[in-house]
Subunit: 235 residues, 2 copies
DNA sequence: CGCCGTATTGAGCGCTCTCAAGCTAGGTGG
DNA sequence: CCACCTAGCTTGAGAGCGCTCAATACGGCG
């Protein structure tokens, strides 16, 4: 997509970190310098790619990850609509993690140099950016929790809160595979499957294919906090 | 310390994220609005404290953590001289984690509102700040690694790279307790002790009290990457 | 309808945890 | 200056959670 092309607005834009900044600039120097449409499994950038832009998710979802010598994938983070990825690349000046679409995805490219200019002119954009960074620092604080149930409960609750337009905050679209969740939480895919089944049997959630409906977020919070099974749990 | 007081320079300042910005302002409106000296175990801020400032470490070290219902501590991050903490509090507008000195420590307080003003005037400060944020995002990517040895090796190597003035990059001052390291890596303190002993027996490191000397960073990197013991390891 | 990737479920093993007992180092007071 | 005291570290033994390997079930897509 050519630089300066008009930026269309879609439903997720109104929840985006950038707010209206991506559309408020003059046509010759927009903040968002292009879009990219990715199919599932397509790469946004790869380990050691040179850095010049960060990206905002317009729709879909992206995972950032490393591959170890044995070929095992360690997922560093998932990114959902409205969220920004690529900050990791600023300091080393290359991407230290690879990024791949886990579903059909559209991203907005933000030139880092242009972002610096914008921030200087618009203090409010700096606020938005730091809020996004701040939120990101709070993601995944639970990945070292003692038990698999603690990690999974925390993960589900966090996802509920991150999904834009989630009125009920009860329905989660599990766009990532069990393997991906496992690679994020430091657990085997089979363990993810088992824990979800246990949650289902305890009537804490309903699983319908890739969608999860949280029935009892209070008990999930208990589990997330201390890993103790609730009194009336007969796995 | 009164606002506007002259900011003294110590050895760690020249490696600080803020660079010279903390001293470059006019006396009526400095970026650093005060200092705080903490003894070991003293609290810098606590969970749910209201947010108005972030902090730069001048000397010493700080840990940020949560306490669960069972009283177990989960450490989110360690902060060393020159590093900045408190970003997590921007979005919720309160501190979602507690912060405590793990050794005698001195911090510089940075008013967030003043930081916003400064960034607008000084694009270079924005660059420094984003570099710091970027670095921080790359910390601890290994905490979900499969084995305890992988996590510990990665942790040691990361610490080597983070210590300011570390010419050899081989000596690490382990200012935190085994328990703290365990709470950070999601392992028991006993496991930390055992892994360090194994590294010592394999002649990968030398442990003298709280100091660690890395003898074979190459093998540590192998362990960090795939958890495989090297051929000549007789734990 | 049949294929293939993904998810589920089971059995057995192994790494890490827990519990517990020494050990070490640093600080305190006689 | 040394004995004591305490907190932290080390090391051992046994148990348990999650991993691996494997078989089966499911579901999307041609």
């Amino acid at each position: 997509m050519a630089v300066g092309e008009a930026v269309e607005v879609n439903s997720s834009c109104k929840h985006c970190t950038l707010g209206t900044f991506c559309r408020s600039a003059d046509p010759d120097s927009p903040l968002v310098t292009g879009h990219q449409v990715l199919k599932r499994r397509e790469s946004l950038y790869s380990y050691r790619d040179s850095f010049s832009s960060i990206y905002a998710i317009a729709s879909g979802a992206i995972k950032t990850f490393q591959i170890d010598v044995e070929g095992k994938e360690r997922i560093h983070q998932f990114y959902l609509p409205g969220e920004i990825l690529g900050f990791e690349a600023i300091h080393p000046n290359y991407f230290p993690l690879s990024a791949m679409a886990i579903t059909n995805t559209k991203v907005c490219r933000i030139s880092y140099e242009r972002l610096i200019d914008f921030v200087t002119i618009h203090p409010h954009l700096f606020r938005r950016l730091m809020e996004s960074v701040s939120q990101r620092f709070n993601f995944g604080v639970y990945v070292t929790a003692a038990t698999a149930e603690q990690r999974m409960a925390s993960f589900l609750l966090e996802l509920c809160g991150r999904i834009p337009n989630n009125l009920s905050t009860q329905d989660v679209d599990l766009c990532m595979s069990r393997q991906d969740i496992g690679n994020y939480l430091g657990l085997a895919a089979e363990t993810i499957s088992r824990v979800l089944s246990r949650f289902k049997n305890r009537k804490l959630i309903v699983i319908t294919n890739k969608k999860i409906n949280v029935l009892d977020s209070v008990k999930l919070q208990w589990i997330a906090q201390d890993g103790l099974a609730d009194p009336d749990s007969f796995s």
